[in-house]
Amino acid sequence: MEPAPSRVRLAVREAIHALSSSEDGDHIFCILGSLKRYLSETEPPALPGEKEEFASAHFSPVLRCLASRLSLAWLELLPDGRLEELWASFFLEGPADQAFLVLMEAIEGAAGPSFRLMKMAQLLARFLREGRLAVLMETQCRQETQPGFPLLRETLLGKVVALPDHLGNRLQRENLAEFLPQNYFRLLGEEVVRVLQAIVDSLQGGLDSSVSFVSQVLGKACIHGRQQEILGVLVPRLAELTQGSCLHQRVCWRLMEQVPDRAMEAVLTGLVEAAQGPEVLSRLLGNLVVKNKKAQFVMTRKLLFLQSRLTTPMLQSLLGYLATDSQRRPLLLQVLKELLETWGSSSAVRHTPLLQQRHVSKAILICLVHLREPELRDSRDELLASMMAGVKCRLDSSLPSVRHLGMIVAEVISARIHPEGPPLKFQYEDDELSLELLALASHQPAGDGASEAGTSLAAATAESPVETPAETVDGGVPQARLAVSDSELDSDDEFVPYDMSGDRELKSSKAPAYVRDCVEALTTSEDIERWEAALRALEGLVYRNSTATQEVSMELAKVLLHLEEKTCVVGFEQLRQRALVAVTVTDPARVADYLTSQFYALNYSLRQRMDILDVLTLAAQELSGPRCLRRAPQPGSPSPGTQCLQVAAASQPGSAVASGWRVVVEERIRSKTRRLSKGGLRQGPAGSPNRFSSVAGHFFFPLLQRFDRPLVTFDLLGDDQLVLGRLTHTLGALMCLAVNTTVAVAMGKALLEFVWALRFHVDAYVRQGLLSAVSSVLLSVPAARLLEDLPDELLEARSWLADVAEKDPDEDCRTLALRALLLLQRLKNRLLPSAAP
């Protein structure tokens, strides 16, 4: 038999009955007032036991009943909204968790937009405004110590965090500002701070409490991707609170420790992003990384190795956090080792995007700044080994930025690991990246309790450029003093300086006047000045005397190809290259044959092979361009008049004669014609045949012939992938320059085959070359011929391009593949309209 119902139960049952049936406003008011006794201190107060019973057993049914009764008519039973006020007070003053759950339930249960729904939503907003959420969480924290209902807590947790979603779904367009996620989670953050404050107070009062519910709320909110809102409020406040108070710190650590494992990553990522500097992070987290495996994994592996989204200040605060405590320092060393291992792995260099590599490099430099000499000494050999491996495979890389990264990091590491040895020094240009990295390396960690923000980094970067001008100023003093020393004044107007622009470094006047002399001077001359003068004069001579050059073109090309810098001549490489280009342009077929045959010959250095490629490209460019653009920038060329004559004479043997009579006729016409008005004499650009057209094959096909046959000294498919990259780029350029030539179709076919053979090459530079080669095929070969002759190749290329555009680790490769795909698409669009009818 069930026990006799208590007084409270009877009263409640009666009240619920009356509420659900009565339409008399005063009666209802009276009943509610009597129930209210169990909630608050209004007279006459109920017994504490009764209050407790009401709160735990009867509150929810009463609220449900109240919620279900709500309607416009019901509220207007009493004037002035008195009933509404009383009604709302039940929700706002009773136990917060039950009120919250009933409210949510009522809102979710509402069929559609209605008066009742809006009222409930407004009540919920008021509930939030009045800080009942903090009360709710606090109650949960209190109850932690007693056995509770896990299911209820789970539901509560879900509702608290998912409130914006539920409300958004329900209210659709009528949603209130309070329920928008960006506002709600900020509010939640503030409430969390209040709860923590309350917990601290209660701990001081000797009461036991737990923060695990708050941790769960925090974790869940972060999993929902709301780190920015909630932590953006929470972290600064906590940083402030934990500054002086030990108790606050402890509570905060506890809060972080209680975060469930699956939410740990989200919370930590958000914290690292929100925290200003390592000090704050250290105060908030304590030794979490040592205690919690998951946290350790996130902080020391995931954020460093698997992601690259942390900015430099975040990296600094993360690694600085690891460095601030002696218990965490071994982790830092461990991290450095692992970072270096990753940095030194050749597969990582090849397969990770540049952004990630940069991230790892930065992390290494920051680690080095934090680690001290003795700590490094123990694992010096290990670190050195990984560094050497990394430097080697980075310097091997054909991408300049990867090489660059390798040099900078290697310099810094070797300086730290071997401070006593001779410093490692590479030559590289100072760009933004190197300055940033070097600033990182020289940036000293701030002392304890010093500045928290990363401003010192900005100061360090700003400092370095300032120093240099100060030094250069000193050098100019003696000259300035000379001008100033005489103070007497008299008129110097009569001493007007003449033009002194001709005052250059004196070069010997032994420059040869004939191409043959140049060849002789370059091969046999022991006289360095003559040698240099010959080199300087050569380009001009070759262009001026094309016939004489053709006689010795092969010999000249050979000499120039083997030429070595005997003394330090300014711009030697350029001079040699320009001369070679000039020779190639003057006698394209033979010289190109020679150069391409030498490309695969034994006993050349990589430098020479790459020079061959450059020269071929430049010469092709010059040959394919219109003639009038040529020679303009080159000093020492003959005067314009003679040049024109030469051009006319060189273009066609009979043209001088042919143009003679035309001039006469035109002159006669002009003299016999009367013109009323004369426009400006307009001369369109003179047309001339594309000189590259007839020789493109000589430039192109020999280069394709033997790339897969390794020599003892030259293995294109093996170690010498840098040259292979250059070769692919050169082939692409030649293809591009061969636009509008008859041989373009054959070239395109051969090039696509070549690309097909190499399409899975591991080196990004090679792949870039291949992709640009495909693009140039699409650009240069006429669309109709492409479709006719190369349909299969195009299909294959298309699927390959789509694959690269999606999956390639290198960003440039993806972009190039996309471009090629666009070109293909354009080709299709152009062909479709004509194919449709």
Partner: protein, 326 residues
Amino acid sequence: MAAPCPLPPPDPQFVLRGTQSPVHALHFCEGGQAQGHPLLFSGSQSGLVHIWSLQMRRALATLDGHGGQCVTWLQTLPQGHQLLSQGRDLKLCLWDLAEGRNTVMDTVRLESVGFCRSSILVRGQRWMLAVPGKGSDEVQILEMPSKTSVCTLKPEADAKLGMPMCLRLWQADCSPRPLLLAGYEDGSVTLWDVSEQKVRSRIACHAEPVMDLDFDSQKAKGISGSAGKALAVWSLSGQQALQVCGTHQLTNPGIAEVTIRPDRKILATAGWDHRIRVFHWRKMRPLAVLAFHSAAVQCVAFAADGLLAAGSKDQRISLWSLYARA
């Protein structure tokens, strides 16, 4: 300050050809035969001294007294009609040129085979001559025309100055004591007090041997050129101490001779880089770079009226009229 569009460098007024040998020394002689037209003496590597008429622009006479050895220095005496020529045959000849004569009146035997040019200081009828001495680092002072050796200026044994490269005797207006400025092989310029045979002051102003110097006694300021890439300007303080005022960097190394125009407004340098450079003397502002010669310029000289002559290894003597005197 500079004009918006500077004038192109001028061409020489005229060029004297016919020495058939590189020109090593030039000297203008005022008050020659024709009024207003000075004579120009040139000394060549083949040992000949040519006397040029600037009116007719041709050689009037040729003096052959150095046995085919290079003539390195020419100087006329103020009483006129007497010319001193120094040759690498270790002889210094005194020529009598009066009334169309051209005979050697006297010779002084030199002891040094170097390129150092001599210097004279005229005091009334008598004059003083400074020549490189017997020891490689010595300078000998002779009383002329008696050819009596007054003294030998020998640096201290541990000074290591090297050979004297150029000499300039002068005397301050207020003081009776003759002084000698000498540029040495180690790049230093030294001020000797001749009567006390002591070094008054010394400055190391060049890294290369000093090739020539000129001194402006009114401003107590001098300039020296060396085999290196710089001109040095130095001054003499009241206590007769030399101090460097500044250096002027040149585009190409090597200065064969430095000459300040008699009105002390501008100066010219003869460069191994085939160019004559003209500077404003007070401010050391570059005024012109004259590129005409095709070989090293060996000597420059100014006439009293401002005409500039330059002799070069390309066997030509160019004459320029720049910044004519008001």
